[in-house]
Symmetry: D2
Subunit: 165 residues, 4 copies
C-alpha cells in the first residue's frame, strides 16, 4: 500500500555494464547508471548548451537478473521505478544517495534495435555465480551462450511468470 505516488520514468543510455550481486536471501540486485541529456540554446550567448544527468538505478529480484544478462554499457533503456534516498556514513559523516529503485511494481525495457546476430548480438551473458546453498526463488532459465539472429530485444515488467523473451 502506498500513501502518495512516487514514480520515476527515464529513457537514457547505460553508462557501464551492470554489476549484479546476490543478497543473503538469494535475491539478485543489479546496479547501473543511466544518462539523460538536455540541450538548449543559451538566451544570452546564443550558444548551444548541454547537460547530462546521471541517474543511479538499482534493480531487485527477477528483473535484476534480466538486467545482468541483457543490459550492457551503451544500452538504451526505458525504466519505471521509484525514488529512494539511502543514508550512509563515511569518516563519521552522514551522506545521502538517491537512487531509482526498480522492483515489483516497476518496469524496464530495452530500446536498442534488433540484434544483428553474431557474437556481438543479443546473446545473454553467462549468468553470475550464485551461492549454491541459496538458490534464487525464481531462477532464470539457463540462457544459451550463443546469440540467436532475430532474437527480440528483451523487456520486462514485474508481473511475468516466465523469462521475458
Amino acid at each position: 500500500m502506498a500513501r502518495g505516488v512516487n514514480k520515476v520514468i527515464l529513457i537514457g543510455n547505460v553508462g557501464g555494464d551492470p554489476e549484479v550481486r546476490y543478497l543473503p536471501n538469494g535475491n539478485a540486485v543489479a546496479n547501473i547508471t543511466l544518462a539523460t541529456s538536455d540541450s538548449w540554446k543559451d538566451k544570452q550567448t546564443g550558444q548551444q548548451q548541454e547537460r547530462t544527468e546521471w541517474h543511479r538505478v538499482v534493480f531487485f529480484g527477477r528483473i535484476a537478473e534480466v538486467v545482468g544478462e541483457y543490459v550492457r554499457k551503451g544500452s538504451k533503456m526505458y525504466i519505471e521505478g521509484r525514488l529512494q534516498t539511502r543514508e550512509w556514513e563515511k569518516d563519521g559523516v552522514k551522506r545521502y544517495t538517491t537512487e531509482i529503485v526498480v522492483d515489483i511494481g516497476g518496469q524496464m525495457q530495452l530500446l536498442d534495435g534488433k540484434p544483428q546476430g553474431g557474437e556481438q548480438g543479443m546473446a545473454p551473458r553467462p549468468q553470475q555465480q550464485r551461492p549454491a546453498q541459496q538458490p534464487a526463488q525464481r531462477p532464470a532459465q539457463q540462457a544459451p551462450q550463443q546469440s540467436a539472429p532475430q532474437q527480440p530485444a528483451p523487456d520486462y515488467d514485474s508481473f511475468d511468470d516466465d523469462i521475458p523473451f
Copy 2:
C-alpha cells in the same frame, strides 16, 4: 510481458457512483467515469474557455472491490492504468470504445480530504451481492457498516495482500 509502454495517469473527479459487477469466474469489475478539465483564455476573443474531458475507467479484481466500497460520485481520484479499445456492435454497425483499464500493474488512490466522521463519512458501502457458488479468489474482509472517525482515505496498488487500509 509488454512490448512497448501503455500508461495513463489521471487525476480527476468521479462522475457517479461506481457500478460493480462480478464475472463468471468471481472477479469483480467496477466502472466509473472520471472528469479532467482544461481551461484557457482564447487568444482571439480573450474569453475564458473550459473543456471537460470524460474518461471511462474500468477496474478489475481486488481493486474493483475497493472502488465499489469507497469511491463515490464526486470523489477525487488518482488512477494509473492502460489504454484499451473495445469493439462492439449496435444495429449491425461496429463501434469502438476506449477505456482506461486498471488492474494488476495499475494503481488508484483516493485524494479526498479526511472524512468528517458521522454517517456521511468514509464508511465503506455494503458490498454488492456476489454469486455464492463463485467466491472471489481474494474476498474482501467484511467492512463495518458504520463510519469510523479518522478512518484514512483508502488507496490501493495491486501488490497488497491485504485490505487497503
Copy 3:
C-alpha cells in the same frame, strides 16, 4: 490551467507513414497510429497470448512538422500527450473517437537506432506543400534532401525554439 491531470505515455511502433495537413491558420496537424503489445501465458491453456493495442495519436504545431519529416512506418517512438475524445456523426449516428493529443505540453522522441546513412537513412522527407498564403508561424528550416551520415535521431519537446536536431 488544468484541473486534474490527463497524461498518456506510450512507447510503440508506428503503423504507417504520418499524414500531415495544415489548418486554415497555418498550423500543422499530423496523424499516426501507434501499436503497443502485451503478451502473457494463458493460465488455463498454458498458451502464449498476444494482444496489440492500436492508439490514434494526433500532433499539432511544430511537433507535427517534425513528425511529418522524420517519422515513418515502423518507427519506434516515445510519446507523451493527453486523452481527448471527439464526437462525430455518420449516417445520423453519433460516434466517438478517442485520441492521444500531443501539442505544447506534450513530448515525442524517436527511439530508432542510429541512421545508417545512405538513401535509407535519417534524411528528412521533403516537406508537404503548405498553402503559400498561410505561412506557419514557426516554419521549419528547409531540410536537406539527402541524408547525412551520423545525423542523430530527432526528438522533440515543445519548449524548443529551434529545429530539434
Copy 4:
C-alpha cells in the same frame, strides 16, 4: 531539446512552509520537501511496516511564486518534474544532493479540498519582497490579502499566461 526522458511524478504531503527567494535575474525559486509513504506487512514477522520517503522539490519561475503563495506545511500536492543532482562542497568534501526540479515543462497541483473560508482558508500569503530593481519577467498580479470563500484550490502548468486561479 532532450535526448532521453527524465520525469518524476509525485503525490505527497508538504513538510513545511515553502521558502521562496529571488535570483539576481528576478526569477523566483521555491523549495519544499514532500513526503510519500509506503506501508507493507513484513512477510516474516507479520508486522505492519511503514517507510516515508522525503523528496526535495525546487520550483522555478512563475510556478515558484504560486507555490510561495498557496502551498503550506501539510498541503497535499501533485508535482511533475525532473531529476537533477547538484554537487556541492563542505569541509573540502564533495557532496551530492538530488532534487526534483519543477519549471517550465513541469506541473504542480494542489490536491487539498476546497478551502473552508475564514482566516484559515485559501487566501494567498502576502508575497515576499522582491528586489525592486530586478522585476520578474512575469510579475504576479497582486493577490488579495483576504480569503474568498469557495476559492478553488490552485493548480498550475507552465503554459498559462495568467495567474493560475
